[in-house]
């Protein structure tokens, strides 16, 4: 039941031939060779696969190819900036906010979508926004610092 649809990912249009209920995540990783979004649970529960669909945070493991084809632009971690210069990415480097880094894609993409919709959040709002992004290394302290830096609540060089 494979069918061809068009997906716009990181500004490029791609013709994709796959079953319509294929998770977007599999398409992004296997057909488009993108490594940003990660498979973590396939249930939408951990957030590692998060991408932006028309600017909104979406868990690509539970979004079907059919649904994705209705979206004007999908942005993955690779598409956020060519060189890691998105303010959220810069904040992550400044806060050294990764251990294994497997969940990091989800943290960055969720924060990006959240900050676009809420440019001046407080710390509790940041925590709530990241609540359903799981991290097992316990990098939460550093990720929160990155979030505060990206939200303008803390300076990059404010020490630890």
């Amino acid at each position: 039941m494979a069918a061809s649809v068009f997906l716009t990912v990181n500004g490029c249009r791609h013709a994709i031939t796959a079953a319509g209920n294929t998770p977007l995540l599999a398409i992004l990783r296997n057909d488009l060779g993108l490594n940003g979004p990660k498979y973590g649970c396939g249930l939408g529960a951990c957030g590692a696969c998060t991408v932006l669909m028309d600017g909104k945070a979406a868990r690509s493991c539970v979004v079907s190819l059919n649904a994705a084809a209705k979206c004007k632009n999908i942005v993955t971690l690779e598409g956020l900036s060519p060189d890691g210069s998105d303010p959220v990415q810069k904040a992550v480097v400044a806060a050294q906010a990764a251990q294994c880094g497997y969940c990091l894609n989800g943290m960055v993409m969720t924060l990006r979508a959240f900050l676009d919709a809420n440019p001046h959040p407080d710390e509790d709002a940041l925590k709530a926004a990241l609540r359903y992004n799981l991290c097992r290394c316990g990098t939460h302290v550093e990720i929160m610092r990155a979030a505060r830096i990206a939200a303008g609540l803390e300076k990059e060089d404010s020490g630890k």
Partner: protein, 1190 residues
């Protein structure tokens, strides 16, 4: 000749876990400097996300005086790096970095010697700074290390006597250095093992046996009865099904095809009874063991008998999971007897040896290339999946990538074992702790590679016993008479090392017990520890940590106000993590002061602050140490407060994050590190140490807050609440404010055709119409009807494009394709099974195929079928086909529908035979049924209603046949229009909710709600179209807006309930009340919801994609039965009607009956409290599960 300088050593025979088979010595390069200036360091350990690639590079750069930017570490490559054993026990820095450091120092010496020759300078005058040569007389000011090795090859064996720098000379080591990997990780450039792609790579999935999470026992490797390859023959792209013993895997061209094949493959297993681990501690207690006394000081038995205050205690630890965020993945490539494995393993050389054994290969024919993976914190499935990929790649002769599912990782990862620690002891007359008799039971081993035992390559009947229960088993306190017995025992469930190994539970016992002694002695717990802590570095750390925390002496029993909802307390603990085979090596010292807040109402414990001290000697990268400390505190807090693997009769029950929740951002404690500054002391492992005192510190803080001791991890809300209620009496719960009931106005609406008795027809349509109806009605009730002659199948161009387009809309209104399309089949080609109380009916082929479809049906035959339920050949059709509704279709619509159906692509499809119970299997019996229940009368508008209402009525009562599902049927299967129109019915096993005022939804269904629901598949005030309604919405896509609006207008007229206030206000009130009630419930159902469901169902943030169904507004939560709710949890919503909705996963194979019952009960209690709890939920879930998926 490309220049290079290498320091190597002769490889040593492997020790420990990878020691197997023949040893072939080779040269192992430790440090290499290349002509281009690149410096490579080689280490057999790997970076598990802890930052050792950065720290090791710092060490190499330090000893070389190189620019750290030029140093890159090669880690865990079996062909390129030394075998330094598994990356375990926090020993990379402490042990494995030593030869590397010396090799770097030796390389610097050699470089300087050659530079002296090249520049004719005395070697003493030369040095490097940031990789640049300085001190030379000649014009070499910008010489780098690469320039010195240009064109020469220098190789030298490691000289163990080479001097290394003293810490006072360090310029790089001891300073914080940014991690080398983070820039690549934050941009997606890092190639994790999950991202490895090899030319020609296929995708594999494994199917694991039903002994979920067990790797030994008589059934392991011997339980497979049958694999039905035909069951996956239809899967596109399938390459192979591979079966070896109990190992089963599928390989396909595309990943989703491999997943589909793994799900579809029919595998039959022998019935298996796994050991009962419903009470893990009792199972540990009953597990056979060999006692091993590791400490025997003084006369314990005599002292115990003389104690003035005896205190015997038990401390329990649950099974826990490593819980890597990324399920394990590996790629293997088999080529002419050689195997390459790309792996996220902790122990590349051990995996190499395991795979060689698995495949009967010499070790040298196996190469393991290590890539970064999701953090593992111990032995997870990273190795297992490498074995899986190896077997599949060899079977198909192409590279294969295997990705484990979340459930497979959860179920099969070797668990951190449950542990039982018992202590006998007490106080003498002076309150001194003079006797200590501890025994500890830790059922764990190193976990064999799963493929080895599944294939039968390694026997699995009897598990090995590993002596790993002794970590930190010796108490840190100076008990004059002390005995420690380690009960070495085999594993129960599959288990292996997990951060802190047995030390975390052992230390939980040591430092809870000393706290209990201090309380009994009436001495401040800090003071009491210091009295008996002989280790001065430990005492200094403990004092520094307590001081930073503002420790105040606790000499009195906790004063607890039983009326307070939030109780606060502070506790401390200390540990020195001792790892490796007994007596082991100490890693960093650690101490905790934890502040907790205990919510009496929910039992929830929050760690509000953790002041955590660590003495790790020289800190290579202090930022890295601090980061590891934070990570350990967060992870161990999560473990202590909520984490436990549960088991049911099939094995591991915790199969996803709802069943095994881990800590989330709002619950992260404030963490204040205290790092002891000891640059002159050797560096110590810091990857685990600060986890070790966590449990005792938190338990001691809970005691300080509540006066109640908790000796069994985890301290879950339900456990804490139960014990505190027992100790302090229950705390009154704020009462629930019920919602104002919805009132109904006006008279109950009736369908346009409700009054359609003879009188009604006469009144509305006149005598002529009534007589026509009588005529056709008489015909319908004849038991045998004449066939209508076949006609030639239609030819293209027979119908106008206009009428076909119109017919397509009519088909959309009638949702023909919903029932006439089999799952995965061609549209309208039939074969969809309708389960009815009378038996299974298969829908017919509506495409114009002459043999199996309606190709030979004339319009007259079609119309007769639609209006009277008579097939072309004269047989009666069953009213599962809603001709009772379709009879009301106008002639124009009927003709258009015929034109559309006859213009479809013909599909030849043989269909299964409908088989009904007697007497329904006698088709002529339907004649009698029709007499009783069918009217072929045309639709007659209700003149008291608007045109829009009547248009809606025509569509809904006729073509749309809403009532076929939403109106209850009588015992003979006829819809009860007169008495219960739209009062709720049944569809494919789902409850079709009432659409009238009898609806259970907390908000009335307005026209706008219905319109949104039917048009988009989602109403924000009610929820998504699910179950059999989702395809109906799909099918209605071609229906014009005004028709959908008319249906919504018509149906809404039947829900006459209205709200006292505006619906949006009531909506907010319901959601706010739910949030309130949920803040008072923290039990297991709440945790499953919070970690598995809430991510899509809670909150409506503007930054979140897709429909977000708020379950508190959903009629299924308010319904009389939980069936729909249970069904959607079991089978998910794989094809949601809404175009921007997530596919809800099916939890059938992820949550047990008990877990689903917990979460369903939680939803009911917190969302529809007025409705009362559903009873017998577990049995109900089991029953609905047994009915199979829809």
């Amino acid at each position: 000749m490309t220049g290079v300088l290498q320091i190597f050593r002769k490889s040593l025979p492997p020790k420990g876990l990878s020691a197997r088979g023949e040893f072939i010595p080779r040269d192992e390069v430790l440090v290499q400097i290349e002509e281009n200036g690149q410096v490579l360091g080689f280490c057999g350990h790997v970076d598990l996300g802890t930052g050792i690639a950065t720290s090791l590079a710092q060490i190499v750069a330090e000893e070389l005086d190189a620019d750290p930017k030029h140093v890159r570490m090669v880690l865990g490559h079996t062909d390129r790096t030394p075998d330094q054993g598994a990356t375990i026990a926090s020993e990379t820095i402490q042990v494995s970095s030593r030869p590397l450091r010396r090799a770097a120092a030796q390389a610097r010496k050699l470089l300087l010697k050659r530079a002296a020759q090249l520049t004719n300078s005395p070697v003493e005058s030369l040095s490097f700074r940031d990789g640049k040569l300085i001190g030379s007389q000649s014009q070499t000011a910008d010489w780098g290390m690469g320039d010195i090795v240009r064109g020469v090859q220098i190789r030298e064996e490691l000289d163990d006597t080479t001097p290394v720098k003293s810490p006072s000379e360090y310029r790089l080591v001891g300073r914080s250095h940014p991690r080398v990997d983070i820039p690549d990780k934050v941009t997606g450039r890092m190639v994790y093992v999950h991202d490895v792609r090899v030319d020609g790579m296929l995708h594999g999935r494994v199917i694991r046996p039903p002994y979920a999470g067990y790797d030994h026992g008589p059934f392991v490797g011997r339980s497979l009865l049958k694999v039905d390859r035909a069951s996956v023959a239809h899967i596109e792209g399938l390459v192979d099904v591979v079966v070896i013993g109990d190992f089963v895997g599928v390989v396909a061209e595309r990943e989703e095809q491999a997943i589909a094949a793994a799900e579809a493959l029919q595998v039959t297993w022998a019935p298996i009874a796994v050991p009962d681990l419903s009470d893990p501690i009792e199972a540990v207690r009953a597990n056979p063991y060999e006692p091993r006394v590791v400490l025997d000081r003084g006369d314990v038995d005599a002292t115990l008998s003389e104690l003035s205050h005896r205190l015997d205690r038990e401390y329990h630890w649950p099974y826990q999971m490593h819980g890597s965020i990324g399920p394990s993945c590996s790629v293997a490539s088999w080529h002419e007897g050689h195997l390459k494995v790309w792996s996220g393993t902790q122990n590349p050389h051990m995996l190499q040896a395991d795979i060689a054994l698995l495949m009967d290969l010499p070790v040298t024919n196996v190469t393991v290339i290590r890539h970064e993976a999701a953090g593992c914190y111990g032995r997870n499935c990273a190795d297992d999946v490498g074995g899986d990929a190896a077997l599949l790649s060899r079977a198909v002769g192409r590279p294969v990538r295997v990705q484990l599912s979340r459930a497979q990782e959860h179920v099969w990862e070797p668990k951190g074992a449950a542990q039982l620690v018992r202590i006998q002891g007490g106080l003498d007359a002076h309150g001194a702790p003079v006797a200590y008799n501890l025994d500890t039971s830790y059922p764990s081993n190193v976990s064999p590679l799963l493929a080895l035992v599944l294939t039968g390559q390694v026997p699995a009947e009897v598990p090995t016993v590993a002596q790993m229960g002794d970590r930190t088993s010796i108490p840190p306190y100076d008990y004059a008479n002390a005995r420690v017995t380690v009960k070495d025992m085999p594993p129960l469930a599959r288990a292996s090392w997990f951060r802190g190994v047995s030390a975390l539970p052992n230390s939980f016992a040591h430092d809870s017990y000393i706290d209990e002694l201090a309380a009994e002695a009436g001495v401040d717990p800090l003071e009491y520890r210091l009295r008996y802590l002989p280790d001065t570095r430990a005492a200094e750390l403990l004092k520094a940590t307590a001081a930073k925390a503002g420790w105040e002496p606790q000499t009195q029993p906790p004063q607890v106000d039983p009326k307070e909802r939030i109780l606060r307390g502070r506790g401390l603990a200390y540990a020195l993590y001792v790892h490796g085979p007994f007596p082991g090596k100490p890693a960093a010292w650690s101490a905790w002061v934890a502040d907790v807040a205990v919510d009496r109402l929910t039992g929830e414990v929050s760690v509000t602050r953790a002041v955590v001290g660590q003495d790790a000697g020289l800190m290579i990268n202090p930022a890295g140490i601090r980061h590891q400390l934070h990570g350990n505190v967060v992870q161990s807090t999560s473990r202590v407060l909520t984490e436990q693997v549960t088991f049911d009769k099939t094995g591991v029950e915790s199969k996803e994050w709802g069943g095994y929740p881990i800590i989330q951002f709002p619950d992260i404690p404030e963490i204040n590190p205290v790092l002891m500054d000891r640059p002159e002391e050797p560096p110590l492992g810091a990857g685990e140490s600060t986890s070790v005192p966590s449990a005792a510190a938190i338990a001691n803080a809970i005691y300080a807050a509540t006066g109640v001791r908790f000796r069994d991890v985890p301290f879950t809300p339900e456990k804490v609440k139960t014990r505190l209620d027992e100790a302090l009496g229950p705390l009154e719960r704020p009462s629930v404010v019920p919602l104002a009931p919805l009132s109904s106005h006006g008279e109950t609406a009736r369908p346009a055709m409700a009054s359609q008795g003879w009188k009604g027809l006469l009144r509305k349509a006149g005598l002529g119409a009534a007589l026509a109806v009588v005529g056709s009605a008489l015909a319908t009730v004849l038991p045998w009807r004449a066939p209508i002659a076949p006609v030639a199948p239609p030819v293209p161009g027979m119908f106008s494009a206009e009428i076909i387009a119109k017919g397509k809309q009519v088909a959309a209104a009638g949702d023909c394709a919903v029932c006439h399309t089999a799952p995965g089949g061609k549209e309208n080609a039939g074969g969809f099974a309708l389960e009815t109380p009378f038996g299974t009916i298969y829908s017919t082929n509506l495409t114009p195929d002459p043999k199996t479809g309606i190709g030979q049906w004339s319009y007259a035959a079609f119309e007769r079928a639609m209006r009277e339920g008579i097939s072309r050949d004269g047989r009666h059709l069953y009213p599962a086909f809603p001709y009772t509704a379709f009879a009301k279709t106008s002639d124009a619509d009927m003709q258009a529908l015929y034109a559309y159906l006859m213009s479809q692509e013909p599909v030849e499809q043989k269909l299964p035979k409908t088989s009904l119970k007697f007497p329904y299997n006698l088709r002529f019996s339907m004649a009698g049924w029709n007499t009783l229940f069918h009217s072929t009368a045309p639709f007659v508008p209700d003149q008291n209603r608007s045109e829009q209402w009547n248009r809606g009525a025509y569509l809904a009562e006729g073509l749309g046949h809403c009532s076929a599902c939403h109106t209850p049927r009588n015992a003979l299967g006829a819809e009860r229009w007169k008495t219960a129109y739209l009062a709720g019915g049944e569809a494919e096993g789902w409850v079709a909710p009432a659409l009238s005022s009898l609806s259970r939804s907390p908000l009335p269904w307005s026209e706008d709600d219905l319109y949104a629901y039917l048009r988009t598949g989602f109403s924000p005030n009610h929820g998504p179209a699910g179950g059999p309604m989702a395809p109906v919405v799909h099918a209605m896509e071609d229906l014009p807006d005004e028709d959908v609006r008319a249906i919504a207008h018509y149906i809404a007229s039947f829900d006459t309930r209205h709200t006292a206030e505006a619906a949006p206000a009531l909506r907010q009130q319901i959601l706010a009340r739910t949030a309130d009630l949920q803040s008072m419930e923290k039990g297991e159902g709440a945790r499953i919801y919070n970690s598995g469901c809430a991510v899509c169902h809670e909150g409506e943030g503007a930054h979140l994609y897709g429909a977000r169904p708020q379950l508190a507004l959903n009629s299924n939560v308010w319904a009389d039965t939980p069936d729909n709710l249970i069904r959607v949890v079991l089978d998910g919503a794989p094809s949601p009607a809404h175009q921007a909705a997530n596919m809800m996963p099916a939890y059938r194979n992820l949550l047990s009956d008990r877990q689903i019952a917990e979460v369903v009960a939680f939803l009911r209690r917190t969302m529809a409290p007025e409705k009362g709890e559903w009873s017998d939920l577990v049995a109900r879930v089991a029953r609905i599960r047994a009915e199979g998926g829809h």
